[in-house]
C-alpha cells in the first residue's frame, strides 16, 4: 500500500491555515502574503478566506513591521511575520535582537512577545549573495530567541502549531526553499519525534558516525547514509532542528556509541552551528571523539551567482559521502563516491517521496 505523501509547501500552507482558523488573534503579516504567489504558495487565498485585517500586506519596511509585531504581541495578537528571503530580516535585526529578544528579560518577566518569524532561505540556482543566506547562527547567538529549522512537513506542522498555541516567546523559523516541493511519506522521518516539536530528533540510528545536520542537510545526510549503508558504513543522523536549544544529551549519547562527529549545516561553519556543536563536545567530554570532528558547510565567501561557482560554494552529496568515509574508514577505503552533482540540480528534479 502506498503511504500518503505531502510536500513541505503543503505543510506550510496547512500550518498557516490552521493558525488562522484555530486562533482568532493570529495575523500573518509581510510583503507578498496577499498576492497571487502568496510566499511560494504558503499563504495563497488566506487573505480572501480570513480577511485582509488578518492577512496583512505591508510596505517594504522590515524594521517597523518587526516592531509592529512586537507591539501587536504586547496587546494580544499572535503575529506571524514572513520574510520571503531570510536576507531581508537583517533590516529588522534591531527590532528582533534589541526588542523582541529582550522584552521579557529586560522588564523582569512583565511582558511576553509570542510571535513567529518565517524566514525563507532563498537558495536555488543563481540567487547570489543577498538572496540565499542561512542566518540561523546569528539569531541563535542571542538569548531570548528560539531558532528552529524544520526539515520535514511533519516538523513544520507540529512546530508551528506549538509556536502558535504553546510557546510564549519569539520563534524564528528558517525554511529552506529547495525543500518546498519535496514530498515526504508520513510527513518525514516516520516515528522519530522529539520530546516537544521543537526538540532535536534522532532520525536514523547507526553505529559508525554521528551526523548532526540542519534543514536540507538532514536530507543530504539521509541520502549519504542510504548510499553508504550499501558499503557497510552505518550512519546515525540527528536532525538538530532547534538551533538555539539543541538536545545536547542526544548528541553526546550518540557520540558515546559512534565516537565520530560530522556536522553538516546549511551555513558557514565558522562561528556557526558547526562551531557550536564542536564547542558542546569539547567542553563536555572531548574524549568521546575517536577522531577529530569534521564540519561541512558553505565555503568562506559570499554566495556567488554563477552556477559554476555556486556548485563549488555548496557541498554536494559526493563531498558529504567522502567526508563520512574518511572519518569512518580513513583514506583509500575503496568505497566509490556518488557522482558530483549539485544539490540544486538534484532537488529541482527530485519528485520524492522521502
Amino acid at each position: 500500500m502506498l503511504a500518503a505523501s505531502k510536500t513541505y509547501r503543503t505543510a506550510l500552507f496547512n500550518a498557516m491555515n490552521s493558525a488562522l482558523a484555530n486562533h482568532a488573534h493570529t495575523v500573518i503579516i509581510g510583503q507578498g502574503v496577499t498576492d497571487h504567489k502568496g510566499i511560494f504558495g504558503t499563504t495563497t487565498g488566506l487573505a480572501d478566506k480570513y480577511g485582509r485585517h488578518r492577512v496583512i500586506e505591508t510596505p517594504l519596511a522590515e524594521e517597523s513591521i518587526a516592531g509592529v509585531c512586537v507591539g501587536a504581541a504586547l496587546n494580544g495578537l499572535y503575529p506571524i511575520n514572513t520574510h520571503i528571503r531570510a536576507d531581508f530580516s537583517l533590516l529588522a535585526f534591531n527590532q528582533i535582537i534589541n526588542l523582541a529578544a529582550k522584552y521579557k528579560y529586560m522588564f523582569g518577566g512583565l511582558f511576553e512577545v509570542p510571535m513567529l518569524l518565517r524566514l525563507v532561505i532563498g537558495r536555488s540556482w543563481g540567487q547570489g549573495a543577498q538572496h540565499s543566506q542561512s542566518l540561523q547562527s546569528l539569531f541563535a547567538h542571542i538569548p531570548g530567541l528560539t531558532v528552529i529549522m524544520p526539515s520535514t512537513p511533519e516538523s513544520i506542522e507540529a512546530s508551528y502549531d506549538w509556536a502558535v498555541s504553546r510557546h510564549c516567546g519569539p520563534v524564528i523559523s528558517l525554511e529552506h526553499r529547495l525543500m518546498y516541493e519535496l514530498a515526504f511519506v508520513d510527513g518525514g522521518w516516520g516515528s522519530h519525534r522529539g520530546t516537544t516539536p521543537f526538540s532535536s530528533r534522532l532520525v536514523r540510528e547507526g553505529k559508525d558516525v554521528t551526523i548532526v545536520a540542519t534543514s536540507i542537510m538532514v536530507l543530504e545526510a539521509m541520502r549519504a547514509a542510504e548510499f553508504l549503508a550499501n558499503h557497510g558504513v552505518d550512519c546515525e543522523v540527528i536532525d538538530l532542528h532547534c538551533i538555539s536549544h539543541p538536545d545536547k544529551d542526544l548528541i553526546l549519547r550518540s557520540l558515546k556509541r559512534t565516537g565520530r562527529l560530522l556536522v553538516a549545516d546549511t551555513s558557514w561553519p565558522a562561528f556557526g552551528v558547526a562551531a557550536e556543536i564542536c564547542r558542546l563536545v569539547a567542553e563536555t567530554d572531548p574524549r568521546l571523539l575517536a577522531r577529530p570532528a569534521v564540519t561541512l558547510g558553505m565555503q568562506p565567501a559570499s554566495c556567488p551567482t554563477a552556477k559554476a561557482l555556486e556548485d563549488l560554494f555548496y557541498p554536494d552529496l559526493a563531498q558529504l559521502v567522502e567526508a563520512i568515509v574518511r572519518l569512518t574508514r580513513g583514506e583509500n577505503a575503496g568505497i566509490p563516491l556518488p557522482d558530483h552533482r549539485s544539490m540544486t540540480d538534484f532537488y529541482k528534479a527530485f519528485k520524492g517521496p522521502f
Binding site: 488573534h25 495575523v27 485585517h53 488578518r54 496583512i56 505591508t58 510596505p59 519596511a61 524594521e63 517597523s64 513591521i65 518587526a66 516592531g67 509592529v68 509585531c69 512586537v70 507591539g71 501587536a72 504581541a73 504586547l74 496587546n75 494580544g76 495578537l77 503575529p79 534591531n94 527590532q95 534589541n98 526588542l99 522584552y103 521579557k104 528579560y105 529586560m106 522588564f107 523582569g108 518577566g109 512583565l110 511582558f111 538569548p143 531570548g144 528560539t146 510564549c168 516567546g169
Partner: protein, 339 residues
C-alpha cells in the same frame, strides 16, 4: 480631582462660605479649573521631587543605573496621562521617569529598580532606562532611539483587530524623527488608520547636538506629508494647555480611531545622562534655562509647591526606604525570564 472634599460641607460657617464660593465659581468653571490645576501641578511636583531625590542620592552610588532625568519635561507626561485610561497603552523612552509615574507606575518599585533590588519592577534587570508597568498601561521604555514607534503601531493594530477602544501613545524625542523606522511607522499608521497619538517631545537636543545640526526638515510639516492631523504646541511648560490639548487629541482618536501627531516644545533642564547640569559645556546657555523657568509653574508657584511638598516627600522617603530594605537579586533572577 477635587481637593475640597465634599465631606467637609456645612460643618462651620467658614467652610460653608467656602463651599458657597466654590459652587459659585464652579458655575463659571473656575474652581474645577483650580483644583484640576492643583492636581496636575501636584503630579508634576511629585515627579520633580522624585528626580531631585535621585540627584541627591546619586553620588552615593546606591542608584546603580544611568539616569536620564525628565526635569523640565514633566508637564507633557502629566498632561498626557490625565486623559489616558488605565487600558490605554503608552510606549516610552529611556527618559521616562515622568511617564512611568504619571501613568500610575508604582514609586516604591521604581526606586527598588533604580537600586538594583529584587523588589524592583523588573527585579533589577531594567534599571532607569526600562521602566514599565503593564498593569497600568505603561508598556516599556527602550534605550534605542525610535524603536518604540512601531510598538505603538502594532498595539493599535491589535486594538483594531480585537475591537477594543484603547488609544496608544508613543512618546519620542525630536532625535527619533531622524530614524528610518520613524518614516516607516508614520507611513504605516496613516496607511492603516490606526488609533495612535504620536507624541514628539521636542527638547531641541539629541544628547548634545542641536536640531539645526541634525535636521533638514520641519518636524510638523514633515508629519503632515503622511496625511496625519498634526498639532504643534510651543508652550510645553503650560500644564493646562498641554493637558487640554492632549485631552482633546486623545478624545478625538478614541472616537474616530485615526492617528494624530503632536509636537510639544519642551526643555531638558539637566545633562543628557546623569544628575548634573552642563551649561558650562558650551552647547547651550543658562539664559535659555532661565527663560524657560520663567514659565515653569513648579518654579514660579512656590507657595503651592511648598504646601504640597511635605506629603510628597514623605511618600518619596518611604519609597527610598523600601528600596534600601529590599534584597539584592541573585542567581535565580539572573537566568529567569530569558525565554
Amino acid at each position: 480631582m477635587r481637593l475640597l472634599g465634599k465631606g467637609r460641607a456645612g460643618s462651620t460657617p467658614l467652610k460653608s462660605r467656602m463651599l458657597q464660593d466654590r459652587d459659585k465659581l464652579e458655575m463659571h468653571g473656575v474652581v474645577n479649573a483650580t483644583t484640576r490645576f492643583e492636581s496636575l501641578f501636584r503630579e508634576c511636583l511629585r515627579i520633580r521631587l522624585v528626580e531631585e531625590k535621585i540627584i541627591e542620592l546619586y553620588p552615593s552610588d546606591r542608584i546603580q543605573s544611568p539616569v536620564h532625568l525628565s526635569i523640565g519635561q514633566e508637564a507633557i507626561a502629566v498632561g498626557t496621562c490625565e486623559t489616558l485610561r488605565r487600558t490605554d497603552l503608552i510606549f516610552a523612552t529611556y527618559r521616562s521617569h515622568a511617564f512611568y509615574l504619571a501613568k500610575g507606575g508604582d514609586l516604591k518599585r521604581m526606586f527598588a529598580e533604580l537600586y538594583g533590588r529584587v523588589d524592583g519592577l523588573a527585579k533589577g534587570k531594567a534599571g532607569s532606562m526600562h521602566l514599565a508597568a503593564p498593569d497600568v498601561g505603561m508598556m516599556g521604555s527602550s534605550a534605542v532611539v525610535g524603536t518604540n514607534l512601531p510598538h505603538a503601531a502594532g498595539a493599535a493594530l491589535a486594538a483594531r483587530n480585537r475591537g477594543t477602544d484603547q488609544v496608544m501613545v508613543c512618546a519620542f524625542g525630536d532625535g527619533a524623527t531622524e530614524q528610518g523606522v520613524y518614516h516607516e511607522t508614520l507611513n504605516f499608521v496613516s496607511l492603516m488608520q490606526l488609533p495612535v497619538i504620536l507624541l514628539c517631545e521636542n527638547n531641541g537636543l539629541a544628547v548634545h547636538a542641536s536640531q539645526q545640526e541634525r535636521q533638514s526638515y520641519n518636524i510638523a510639516a514633515h508629519a503632515r506629508c503622511y496625511g496625519i492631523e498634526t498639532t504643534v504646541l510651543d508652550e510645553g511648560y503650560d500644564l493646562m494647555r498641554v493637558a487640554d490639548t492632549m485631552g482633546s487629541l486623545i478624545g478625538a482618536t478614541r472616537g474616530d480611531r485615526k492617528p494624530r501627531f503632536i509636537e510639544i516644545k519642551t526643555f531638558r533642564y539637566k545633562e543628557h545622562v546623569g544628575p548634573g547640569d552642563d551649561y558650562d559645556a558650551g552647547y547651550r546657555s543658562r539664559a535659555d534655562l532661565q527663560a524657560w523657568q520663567a514659565h515653569d509653574a513648579l518654579v514660579q508657584d512656590r507657595a503651592l509647591a511648598e504646601r504640597l511638598r511635605p506629603e510628597l516627600e514623605r511618600e518619596i522617603a518611604a519609597a527610598v526606604a523600601f528600596a534600601e530594605a529590599s534584597p539584592l537579586p541573585g542567581r535565580a533572577e539572573l537566568l529567569s525570564d530569558v525565554i
